[in-house]
Amino acid sequence: MMPSPPSRRALLHRAGAGAGLLGLATLFQDQHLLAAPDPLAPRQPHLPARAKRVIWIFINGGPSQVDTWDHKPALARHDGQELAGFDKFTGFFANAVGGVMKSPFEFRPRGRCGKMVSEIFPHLGEHVDKMAFIHSGHTESNNHSPALFAMNCGLPRMGLPCAGSWITYGLGSESRDLPAFVVMSDPLDRGLPKGNASNWSAGFLPGVYQGTWLKPKGAPIDNLLPPPNLPPAAQRDQLDLLARLNRSHRDAHPGDPDLDARIQSYELAYRMQATAPETLDLSRESEATKRLYGLDQPHCRHFATQCLTARRLVERGVRFVQIYSGGMENQRSWDGHSDIKGNHSQFAGETDQPVAALLQDLHQRGLLEDTLVLWCGEFGRLPVAQKGAKPGRDHNPHCFTAWLAGGGIKGGVSHGQSDELGHKAAVDKVTVHDLHATVLHLLGLDHEKLTYVYNGRRFRLTDVAGHVIRPILA
């Protein structure tokens, strides 16, 4: 007896969308997104996609725009002067506000476009013609975890799905035996980004859309390897037995596609056992590639490993990869409250060659055409000093710089401007929602249509705002 095709309602529920979508069939406009029994099946986007996957280099802690990509000669002219009208509650330490502070780094023009780039990025400077810079980014919170949540999930609150989850929900996974959304955090015991796993949470979306965190220590994915006392042949036979049990149970209970889905899930898991370790095994890469990323350099080996892993993941169809540079706060990340020179030199040093290599490698393999690479943190830093023995810079929600490269991005352009000192976004201001809308757009998703109904409200990554930043599109 053939089971009748499952109803749309049943499909929605099995897709994990039950909580959000039941009963809303008439209102839901994006039925195709969920018209498959597998919640991770690949789906067609709303629009022609320019990018199929995303690698987000998260500059954790808040990189200083004026010491990296947003060259501000005026800082030197006003060095040491008080910044008139400055609200001392802008940053985190209201009692340590110093005068305007010039960048400790030299800038020089790089690439054909002549972009002024800080000396801390000797390798990345080679690739400015691939990058579109946004110098007018701004956000709401001056505090790490709310700002991280805003950058990842749209609003400075807990409980919302992050961009990676929204994208996986919208597009599914190209890979059948790897997680769709992978997150890598600092492997040098400097901790997780503030707010921990909430930064790659699926919020109220089904849990299948949350990021898979590759543990920096031990087995990277839970339960990936068979138990020690179960030889491979024994596990294969065990799974064959299980399939047999499940098939006869299914035959006695027709009409429930869930039962079939589980039978398939065991086969998929069995394949993952082989694929995932192979993907994470960098020994298969050539020596030249390893050197390109800096695997032979102690100061950046960890980040090189993660960037090369990211390439291997996207190559195999992983949709969204996020790598955090640094962990927690202060000297453990780009959070240069003290010694901005030492702090940014160190973290730029850890990431410069690996990220540059990633761009080059993706480009050489033809992957950059449809892979979007995003470089940004949760906020920027202030043009005034945070006082101390070695001065630093405090948090600045009013201005940050981000760059994008790859699929659908016009290279060598700069969009928006900060004010003369890089204190506040001034021209063509860009919100976090705009950034998200642009990323979704490049992936073929209309940020106003990618919605999920939860507890009576239709939610979007971009809340009720967001504009695609068209001038940076190729």
Binding site: R9, F204, L245, G456
Partner: protein
């Protein structure tokens, strides 16, 4: 969550009164620009304020751009050039531009703005001097750039960031009408008359007619084994225990089924399973979330409240009321206090900057309002935070009225005595025994009176003090920096009588004789101290970070004290020889090292001797400062100081003559008994008694008994209340106030844009027949600590006659129905509003709600009703004909089999493998390998257990009414490879003793079919060959068990 929108006034204008019916408002934000343009064309030339339009897709962006333009270019011109005559001091020509509304309303000459054709707006014509009167009056024409800005502004919908004159603002607020109240969920309960009044009604009566009309035939009843397994898993989240199932199958009484159901309802596991489901709705967790994710170690009492409430069948109205206002309604009832953990379970960013204080508090109020309204009423009131609700008749001011209800409610901790009756029962015999022992001692003392008298007068009276090199010192003064109070004891010691502060510092001044070379500090035990002391920390320990002595001559008390350098320190016991040694009390580090006495020294008297080498030259005053900062509450509970001239005196305890006794003895020796003061006689009597073995024995018996006085079971419990000290956190250091006494209505949810102060109230759509919040008011008593606003809310929530109790009941019975059929009669359990589903069987829903209320809001009654129904007891079989007519099984022609929840899966694995630890209540655990039921996982928001998350555990940040149920590879990996899955399999194999029958009986509560037995036997034979181990057969059976426990049959509700 809508507060990130641009700061603009509502656009486009809505005319709430034009709504005649209760259909959802067509204001869908996701709508194409083309459709909007079409609508605009159709509507021409109607000017703007006439019609509520769908929002254009770029609405937010337009508003943002428009507002920015207004602020930068329009507002200054209006203020400077126009306002004086038009809405400021005067309003000429009936035209005011003080606010957007008045501008759009136009003046005596008609509309000023033409939205369909902005360039043709009258306002522009006057400003361009194309029409008279030229504006601004008697002033030059405005620059072209400004005129262009005006046109652009009109094209963008004339947004204002705020009115030019505050009082001019008359926002077109949503009005709530009786038509709104006619929406199905807001209406009173209505049950059609019973067509067969003779027999009791049941859910099947309501389904039968619809099934017949649709031509759908329900399945026959499932077999009894299936039913028993289904019922146990549904009600308790565990499979039936071995023996229970057999007993039921053997029960041939006609009421065997109801009896079986009742036995499950009476099982303690019932409350645990039900509690866990409500924890989803209550977004319950035990940490604060955000970056620190601090633990809330006393939050688990809310979970324990839920278990007890369900097991006791606490009526749902009280269950509801206590969660909202238990502290106000039943302050003496521990369960009611625990229940308020509902309100305090939300996330909170404990690290805040000053700029975030107010918005953080409004977010917290939003969590309380949102969760309360969604959980109990199925209403997404939280949507009205930034503007009137887009779909439901809930104006923003109703939202703020609810927020004001919680204005002063804070997260706090209180100490609750658990099981006071048990304490009383233990105390009574203890007190009786204490009286006996005290009486025995008193009788003995009386009998000794003559002997004491003889001793006093005896010329050669024997000594009553042991020889000692120590002179016990009477403090001249004794102070404690952080509030410790002392009571002097007979032996010259000082007993601390209040709970220890976190950090403490004692300063003692004593007089010592010339020649003294050392000081002894005794830290003594006492029955009143934790574990008898000698320390005041919960473990009985203390840690003396440092001890510093300064000295000055007694004859020159005004002299500047000079430090006395301590050269050696010895002790009766020290916790280690490093940072907790006695030597570390005189090192330079008062913070991280100091003398402590755990590891063998707790419950015993201890002493340390500090010496300074050179004897004091004169009688001296010593000031001794002791700091206790090494660890929380680590100060000693009873101290005594002595001095000696013997530099080699060992550190002993208990010896030494206290000052009053020494002087009494001296006086007795010099002047005889008649010269003694009454106090001195009493001191001598006490010391003399201590030499009598009979007295010593009786006194010791009494002291020993006092030391075992039963203590009440007092535990800190996190609650929500008012007027108590808020639970401290990180942001306190920056001065976070925890609450603001007044809640304001906020423009666009922005705390920087406050409007009027909101007063507590309820959603108007749930106030019928002219009722007002005052009708439920609970006036606070004189001097009440709390406002009783929440008590008022609770009364209204639970009032089915005039309040919102009817909706409360509908939402509750729907959740229980959903628990049993996988889908509620309303498929959106957290949304009973316009956006939510309509009930599939409205009469059945209302009948269940009516039954529920009529049976004292008993959830167990509802479970009984449902489990006795044919709909629930039918087989899960699939039938193509039925499926063709009703593919969603809305008519319940089959029992909807489905995957078990994360908890039921894990708990079943533990149960069938014999590993389950059924210990109920108390603090939970983060250990994924723990063996208690899954609801005892501590819900730490940043560390959700992987095994739970893999099976669709929610995030516990917002209320979840229905979990998704997914089938993904990580679940398969869990069964295949996790250490736990292997452990369960091996335990099941071990307890089955090699018997396939036993494996099946434990795991699936049935015997294997012949072909299953054959397959299993073949598998075991071949699998044994894979394992090159003496235990190959055992391992093969474990492999089999692992497969069985991973099978769909095990994972699915049958």
């Amino acid at each position: 969550m809508c507060n990130a929108g641009p700061p603009v006034e509502a656009f486009p204008l809505r005319q709430a009164s034009s709504r005649k019916d209760s259909r959802p408002r067509q204001r869908d934000p996701v709508i194409s620009v083309r459709l909007l343009l079409t609508l605009l064309l159709l509507l021409r030339p109607v000017s703007l304020p006439a019609q509520a339009l769908p929002l254009p897709a770029d609405h937010a962006a337009r508003m943002k751009a428009g507002t920015a333009l207004f602020t930068a270019s329009i507002r200054p011109v209006l203020l400077e050039q126009c306002l004086d005559c038009h809405g400021g001091e005067k309003t000429r020509a009936g035209f005011s531009l003080a606010s957007r509304e008045s501008l759009l309303a136009g003046g005596d000459s008609g509309p000023a703005i033409d939205s369909s054709s902005p360039p043709r707006s009258l306002l522009l014509a006057l400003l361009r001097h194309e029409e008279e009167p030229f504006m601004p009056a008697k002033k030059p024409r405005l620059p072209d750039a400004t005129l262009e800005a005006f046109q652009r502004w009109i094209e963008l919908g004339v947004p204002y960031d705020r009115p030019l004159v505050e009082s001019a603002s008359k926002p077109a607020e949503m009005t709530v009408t009786d038509a709104d109240r006619a929406f199905w969920s807001f209406r009173p309960l209505a049950v059609p008359a019973d067509p067969n009044p003779g027999s009791p009604r049941n859910p099947d009566h309501f389904l039968a007619e619809a099934r017949a009309a649709a031509g759908v035939t329900p399945n026959p009843e499932a077999d009894r084994r299936t039913l028993a397994r289904r019922a146990a898993l549904s009600l308790t989240g565990l499979p039936p225990a071995p023996g229970v199932l057999e007993a039921f199958l053997a029960d041939s009484r006609p009421d065997a089924w109801p009896r079986f159901v009742d036995s499950l309802l009476a099982s303690p596991a019932f409350g645990e399973h039900q509690a866990r489901q409500w924890m989803d709705v209550a977004r319950f967790a035990e940490s604060s979330g955000f970056e620190q994710d601090y633990d809330r170690p006393s939050a688990y009492h809310y979970r324990d409240f839920l278990i007890r409430a369900f097991n006791q069948d606490l009526p749902w109205d009280r269950f509801t009321a206590w969660q909202v206002a238990g502290d106000e309604l039943a302050p003496g009832e521990p369960l009611a206090l625990q229940a308020t953990g509902f309100l305090s379970a939300g996330v909170f960013p404990t690290q805040l900057t000053e700029a975030e204080f107010e918005s953080a508090r409004y977010d917290e109020l939003d969590d309380m309002v949102g969760t309360t309204s969604v959980a109990f009423l199925g209403l997404s009131i939280g949507c009205a935070r930034c503007h009137d609700h887009k779909y439901d008749p809930i104006p923003a001011r109703d939202y703020y009225a609810l927020a004001a209800t919680f204005a002063t409610a804070i997260r706090t901790e209180t100490e609750i005595e658990f099981a006071p009756e048990l304490h009383r029962a233990r105390l009574a015999p203890w007190e009786a025994r204490e009286r006996e022992l005290a009486a025995a001692l008193a009788v003995h003392e009386t009998s000794l009176a003559p002997a004491f008298g003889s001793w006093l007068r005896a010329p050669d009276r024997p000594g009553i003090t042991a020889p000692s090199v120590w002179q016990v010192l009477e403090p001249v003064s004794l102070t404690a920096r952080d509030g410790t109070t002392f009571t002097p004891q007979a032996d010259g010691s000082q007993l601390a009588t209040n709970p220890a502060p976190a950090r403490e510092e004692y300063t003692v001044e004593v007089a010592v004789a010339a020649g003294s070379t050392a000081l002894r500090l005794e830290t003594l035990t006492h029955p009143s101290l934790p574990r008898q002391g000698p320390g005041r920390a919960p473990n009985g320990n203390f840690a003396l970070g440092d001890l510093v002595v300064t000295s000055r001559p007694s004859v020159h008390p005004e002299a500047r004290p000079v430090p006395l350098k301590l050269v050696a320190a010895r002790a009766t016991h020290q916790q280690n020889t490093g940072s907790l040694s006695v030597a570390s009390a005189i090192d330079a580090d008062p913070q991280s090292s100091g003398w402590a006495v755990d590891s063998g020294g707790i419950g015993r008297d201890q002493a340390a001797v500090f010496s300074w080498g050179t004897p004091l030259a004169t009688d001296s005053r010593l000031t001794i400062r002791m700091r206790f900062q090494v660890n929380g509450q680590h100060s000693p509970g009873r101290i005594r100081l002595s001095s000696t001239a013997d530099a080699t005196a060992p550190p002993g305890t208990g010896d030494g003559v206290p000052g009053p006794l020494a002087s009494a003895l001296d006086r007795l020796a010099k002047a005889g008994p008649d010269a003694l003061s009454p106090d001195q006689t009493s001191v001598l009597r006490r010391a003399w008694l201590a030499t009598d073995p009979g007295w010593k024995q009786r006194d010791a018996a009494l002291q020993a008994h006092r030391s075992v006085r039963p203590r009440p079971d007092l535990r800190p419990v996190m609650i929500c209340s008012e007027g108590l000290p808020p639970l401290k956190h990180h942001a306190d250091g920056r001065g976070y106030p925890h609450f603001y006494p007044q809640v304001h209505v906020l423009e666009r949810g922005d705390p920087k844009r406050k409007k009027e102060v909101a007063s507590a109230g309820f959603p108007q759509v749930l106030l019928r027949d002219g009722a007002s919040p005052a009708d439920w008011q609970v006036p606070p008593s004189q001097g009440a600590r709390t406002s009783h606003r929440r008590a008022t809310l609770a009364r209204w929530l639970t009032d089915p006659e005039r309040g919102s109790g009817h909706l409360l009941a509908r939402v509750a019975v729907n959740r229980i129905w959903q628990q049993h059929f996988g889908r509620g009669l309303v498929a959106t359990p957290n949304d009973f509003g316009f956006q939510g589903s309509r009930p599939s069987h409205p009469a059945l829903l209302d009948w269940l709600a009516t039954e529920f209320i009529a049976h004292g809001w008993s959830t167990k009654h509802l479970h009984r009703l449902i489990l006795r129904s044919d709909a629930w007891r039918q087989a899960p079989d699939h039938h193509p004909a039925n499926a063709a007519r009703d593919p969603d099984n809305l008519l319940l022609w089959r029992f909807p089999s489905r995957r078990l929840s994360a908890e039921a899966i894990r708990d079943s694995l533990l149960a069938v493998s014999g590993l389950l630890d059924p210990t109920p209540f108390g603090p939970g655990s983060l250990d994924e390998s723990m063996r208690r039921r899954s609801l005892y996982f501590t819900v730490k928001r940043s560390r959700l257990p992987n095994v739970m998350v893999v099976f669709d555990w929610p995030e516990h940040v917002v209320s979840i009414g229905l979990r998704p149920s997914t089938t993904v590879a990580p679940q398969a990996l869990y069964f295949m490879n996790s250490p736990e899955a292997r452990r369960y399999a091996e335990a099941l194999a071990a307890r089955s003793n090699g018997s396939l029958d036993a494996v099946y009986r434990f795991a699936l509560q049935r015997s294997p079919a012949p072909e299953e037995r054959d397959a299993a036997t073949a598998f075991l034979t071949s699998q044994t060959r894979h394992h090159h181990s003496p235990r190959a057969a055992e391992l093969a059976l474990a492999d089999f068990c692992q497969a069985l426990l991973a099978s769909n049959e095990f994972l699915h509700l049958p």
